[in-house]
Subunit: 186 residues, 2 copies
């Protein structure tokens, strides 16, 4: 039986492995995409054996979960109290995250692979966290089906050009969307 | 040198092969997704050798192009002249297409793989054809950045729940979105 000292050393090693693998998984996710977050690819990138990865994180979703841990909280716009400015600010931060974090690939990969309860939980965690500030802002003006519609519409202003054309919306389009939604919500 | 008769027989065989392979590629695309439209998988499904497929259609994008040929024109709502009813009708048909044709997988697969000019042309063909009626309807009320915003927003009402949660919007959400956009466009 290992001494406390030995166990402490082992725990530290496992924690270091987790940190290394989390960072490698996030890097693969960001630069290569969801489909490439495999045990072989992450092991290669992190400098560990596939056997080590399988022992601690047996499924691909475990690796994606580690990547999300490394990602931490998604960036959000600090609220100023001016609804129009806050909506534009939040969408602008979201637009940047789509590019920098490849959020579109991540969300789509999760949605397509969410055929198990574990995958659905992971998907809902990312999506709920991602949409929370936008939902709260829109909740000042909308409720029920109109809130769901406004939330999907403003998310779509950023994600549709990205998903359909690999492009991001211009500032003028983001502002026009917020103005249409706010005018339509009166 | 083959006689005219022989060439006619050869042309007919090629045409039959093309039809068979197009249908198989579309079936794989619809039931299994973009990543599965490979020479191996389509050849197996169509009952031809991989060698035959590579000889006629050397790239995966050629196979996706064949699938789109088999798809034909995307279904659209026949316009009635009532803008609100026509927008709701078009989004409802689009919502059904997302389920029946797996349009979301197709569009995302094309967007992610559109790193070549050929892929970009294929992507733009599908997206332009898909959004054309909605763009024309919204063009009655919007132009410029406001038109792009309204187009992305109404596309997003259908695609965001699908891409983020694997779910489709309720009728009430589609109607609320159209009402917000039309009220915001006054």
């Amino acid at each position: 039986m290992p001494s406390t000292q030995d166990r402490g050393g082992e725990d530290a090693r496992v924690a270091r492995t987790r940190t290394d693998v989390s960072r490698a998984a996030l890097e693969v996710l960001r630069t290569e995409g969801f489909d490439d977050v495999t045990h072989a690819r992450v092991a290669e990138s992190a400098g560990y054996s596939k056997t080590t990865l399988y022992a601690h994180w047996p499924t691909r979703l475990d690796l994606v979960g580690l990547a999300l841990d490394a990602l931490g909280e998604l960036p959000h716009h600090p609220a100023s109290g001016d609804l129009r400015a806050d909506l534009i600010g939040e969408l602008t931060v979201f637009r940047r995250s789509v590019t920098e974090l490849r959020l579109d690939r991540l969300v789509f990969g999760l949605a397509q692979s969410a055929t198990t309860a574990a995958a659905a939980r992971l998907r809902d965690r990312v999506n709920a966290e991602g949409q929370r500030p936008l939902r709260e802002l829109l909740g000042q003006r909308f409720s029920g089906a109109r809130l769901e519609a406004a939330l999907s519409m403003l998310t779509g202003v950023v994600t549709c050009p990205s998903l359909m054309f690999g492009a991001l919306p211009a500032d003028a389009v983001v502002e026009a969307a917020v103005d249409i939604v706010l005018a339509g919500g009166r």
